[in-house]
């Protein structure tokens, strides 16, 4: 198998940021052959600078490459100028390590972190010289695989992806490798593609759409049922029980050129039980599994020395909730191994800061070296609205956090909000402006130039969350809400308002809760040139509305319609471990503005994530971390007592 490098190099002078196509990152495999082993091409279907830091891809890259009988290389979506040059010359998608043609690999495995990259997946498959529809592929074509959060509703891509991996990939990647190795040994003969896919459909956590029949009654989905008795009716997600067993990436890739999150990233826990009802990540990654503090410190210390970075991010869905976060960050800052024996300062960053003064204190402590901005996510403007979405932070929590920030030298604070939430009234919307204004007032007592940026996104309901039944807000309604906020803030010099394009939220909504029929519209958007839809300069809502119309699909029905409890949802045959009656109860509680506290420190409400898998929350400390209510609004007066009891499950249909 020859390298395409000489032809690729010839076009690099003609394209922007050519370093995106050279590979050569520290931590990457040197060029090598892919024959006689199971070869994976791991693809992040967005630009290199977005995809390179993806930790999920890097973890699988290392796990596969630890095997003697397998090899993983990487690819990212070539930018539009590069794609044009490649197509002009008939050059296929290529890997970055050896610059092998993508079509020569056994598996093209995509990471799906966002719905708007779906058209890029199709484009990459096509650029690889592989038919975009699964049914047209022959035994010598690679298997097209997808994993990542979006696969919790695999249906919109069911006609294009041969197999989906649901949940954590660490273990299942090995099981797939074994199966493909046997397929290759058997010679990939005619008909063998169906056989290997059928075999893979029996691997726990693997969903093979071609092994399921879908029936409809008019617009309604009736059922998605397996064609074979040994294929599961419901695909349960995979969950690694113990993060300590997976200290990856051991050799994080250090890019040669600018990328997002260009620093050492160490995952400190997976899962989150805050229970924010809009948050798909928090729902599908349960339960909480913490990495032992010693392992975190070891990964940080060796990682910083190896890479030469002077910044580490402790990643998770809510890093301040890590048991002993205070001790952990202090140990890093004080460890001479992390700072070249004290010759330079090391910064620690915590993404998704919790909204409270304690967290800001930690942030001030650890960002002495380099002060990044502080971002908080109250998500909604009124307490009522925050109870609906179960983001139980009080105004006092927020003002305390902001007070703490401005008094410790920050001059600007960023606040994230969602609009278009269930039951949201104009009063709730303008509450966002009031909160921001009050935060500026708090700041002005410390710093005359204090300012607050309020960033507002249109809410897109996601599968496998309590809001999966909710009818998404229309563009007109979102624009009305943004208008209210602009009016409410335009005289406030201290408040800068930013908002996400409601049109992009609509397109995301189409892909997010679509069924298998939406695939045709996604294909149509791609055929009309709609790639890089995450990028405002390439996004076009017209492409999506025209594609939906040309496929005879109703945007109103797919996006804006509220679903009934009885409805068969397109993702009903995929399970994140959450009981359906838990999700429904949460939806009902949302509508009556009733909050549900975090089950790490309060009784279990049996969402299903632990019990269904025989797992438990793995936390280093049973005591909630310091800092008052921790933004949960819950009563922690019971101290270290962590009572656990199961709430009786309400039988389906008993509550309507």
């Amino acid at each position: 198998m020859t390298s395409l490098w000489p032809q690729i190099e010839r076009i690099l002078p003609k394209v922007s940021k050519p370093a995106r196509y050279i590979g050569c990152e520290d931590g990457a495999l040197p060029p090598g052959p892919i024959e006689n082993r199971v070869s994976w091409l791991l693809i992040y279907p967005d630009a290199y600078e977005i995809g390179l830091p993806n930790q999920g891809l890097q973890i699988l890259y290392e796990i596969i490459n630890e095997r003697d009988d397998a090899r993983a290389e990487r690819a990212y979506s070539p930018w539009t100028d590069m794609e044009r040059e490649m197509r002009r010359r008939g050059l296929p998608l290529f890997s970055l390590e050896s610059h092998h043609a993508a079509g020569d690999f056994d598996l093209l495995a995509f990471n799906l972190s966002a719905e708007l990259v779906y058209t890029n997946l199709l484009n990459c498959v096509d650029l690889a010289g592989v038919p975009v529809r699964s049914e047209a592929r022959r035994p010598d074509h690679p298997l097209v695989v997808a994993g990542g959060h979006c696969t919790f509703n695999p249906e919109p891509l069911a006609d294009f992806v041969d197999l989906f991996v649901i949940g954590d990939g660490e273990e299942v990647v090995t099981e797939i490798t074994e199966a493909v190795r046997q397929w290759k040994a058997g010679g990939r003969t005619a008909g063998s593609r169906q056989r290997i896919l059928h075999d893979l459909a029996t691997v726990p956590g693997v969903y093979v759409p071609s092994c399921y029949d879908v029936t409809y009654d008019g617009p309604n989905l009736v059922s998605v049922v397996p064609r074979y008795p040994d294929v599961p009716e419901r695909v349960e997600k995979r969950t690694v029980a113990d993060l300590a067993a997976w200290p990856y990436p051991r050799r994080q890739l250090v890019p040669m050129t600018e990328v997002v999150h260009d620093r050492l990233n160490v995952e400190i826990f997976r899962g989150c039980t805050r229970g924010c009802r809009f948050c798909q990540a928090g729902m599908i990654t349960r339960p909480v599994r913490e990495r032992p503090v010693d392992q975190v410190l070891e990964m940080v210390s060796t990682g910083l020395r190896r890479t030469g970075y002077d910044e580490v991010s402790l990643t998770s869905l809510s890093s301040a909730d890590f048991s002993g976060i205070d001790h952990t960050v202090r140990s890093i800052v004080e460890d001479p191994q992390c700072s070249g024996n004290g010759s330079y300062p090391v910064s620690v960053s915590l993404p998704s800061l919790r909204v409270d003064a304690f967290t800001v204190g930690v942030a001030a402590e650890i960002q002495k070296a380099r002060r990044t901005g502080l971002t908080f996510a109250p998500e909604a403007g009124t307490w009522r609205m925050r109870q609906v979405i179960n983001k139980l932070i009080t105004e006092e929590d927020l003002y305390g956090a902001v007070e703490s920030a401005f008094s410790q030298g920050w001059r600007r604070v960023k606040l994230y909000f969602l609009t278009g939430l269930p039951t949201e009234t104009d009063e709730d919307t303008v509450g966002i402006a009031a909160l921001a204004r009050n935060c500026v007032a708090v700041g002005r007592s410390h710093c005359r130039s204090a300012s607050v940026t309020a960033s507002v996104g249109g809410f897109v309901p996601k599968p496998q969350t309590p809001f999966q039944w909710y009818g998404q807000d229309t563009i007109a309604s979102l624009q009305h809400k943004i208008g209210l906020l602009r009016e409410a803030t335009h005289r406030d010099k201290g408040v800068q308002l930013r908002w996400h394009d409601p049109k992009a939220s609509l397109a995301e909504g189409i892909a997010s809760r679509g069924d298998r029929r939406v695939g045709a519209a996604i294909e149509e958007v791609w055929r009309r040139g709609g790639t890089f839809q995450e990028w405002s300069e390439h996004f076009s809502l017209d492409l999506w509305t025209e594609a939906m119309a040309s496929c005879g699909l109703s945007i109103e029905w797919y996006v804006h319609r509220e679903r009934d409890r009885d409805e068969v949802l397109p993702w009903s045959h995929v399970s994140a471990g959450l009981h359906e009656d838990f999700l429904w109860q949460e939806w009902q509680d949302a509508l009556s503005a009733a909050g549900t506290p975090d089950c790490r420190w309060t009784p279990c409400y049996d969402c299903g994530a632990c019990t269904g898998y025989g797992l438990e929350h793995v936390v280093a400390s049973a005591v909630a971390p310091a800092g008052g209510s921790q933004g949960t609004g819950q009563d922690l007066s019971r101290g270290s007592e962590v009572p656990v009891f199961l709430r009786p499950r309400i039988p389906a249909g008993a509550r309507a």
Binding site: W5, L12, P13, K17, P18, A19, Y21, I22, G23, C24, D26, V254, M256, T257, E258, D262, R305, R306, T307, G308, Y309, D310, G340, N341, S343, Y344, P345, A369, R370, R371
Partner: protein, 258 residues
Amino acid sequence: MTDRDSARVRVRIRFTKLGKVQWTSHRDVARMWERAFRRVGLPLSYSEGFSPRPRVSFGLALPTGHESLAEYLDVELSDLTGVDIPGLPARLSAALPSGVDATAVEILPPGTPSLQEDVIACTWRWVAAPGEGSEPIGPEALEARVSSILAAPSVVVIRNRKGALQAEDVRPGILKLQLSGPAGSDPSQGMWLEADLACRPRSLRPSEVLAALGADLEERSVRRTHQWILREGARREPLVVAGPDVATDAPHALERAS
């Protein structure tokens, strides 16, 4: 001046940029060096303020997609104690990406001018190949074009400067220009060019010289081989690589199999 300030020392480093890494930008190279300095634990001197940066100054930017045997940077160390200067090139090279190798290191005497102030010209080697869709051009025809440029009192090219077209005479910046053999057995592979191009009042690029030679040509395998400073009336390199001067004798020396 505090004791800490007085301990500060500037060190000049010469390095290569060869192979795939040529496609990284000047800023990318700066980041590579910052990480390499930290990996080898060099005691860097940092700027003050909220976002302290190491005090590193790079010389002339090398255009993305060009190789070099002669890149330079000056870095300020807070303290020389315990720093093994002769051993530094090897340690730094091990911490740098493949293709970027430190080839010489020297402590700068106080008052040494910066690279930006000091470098007057660069020597370049590159291939002039027929552009896409253009006919191959024979050695005699190319030779004639080179001679006519050298004989001309002025050579005006149109430059696109931040969107505005500007006429500029590049002739004064061409200090030397000559053909140095075919780039391959087939004329479509083009001819090697060698040129000394001035850095004053601004740095002339090989691509501008090539544009003056004809719109039907395309540059390939561009490599900076030397940078020159002036000392006592004679030109010399800011730092000389120990050992035989591979740069001029063998254009493909140090080439990496990438």
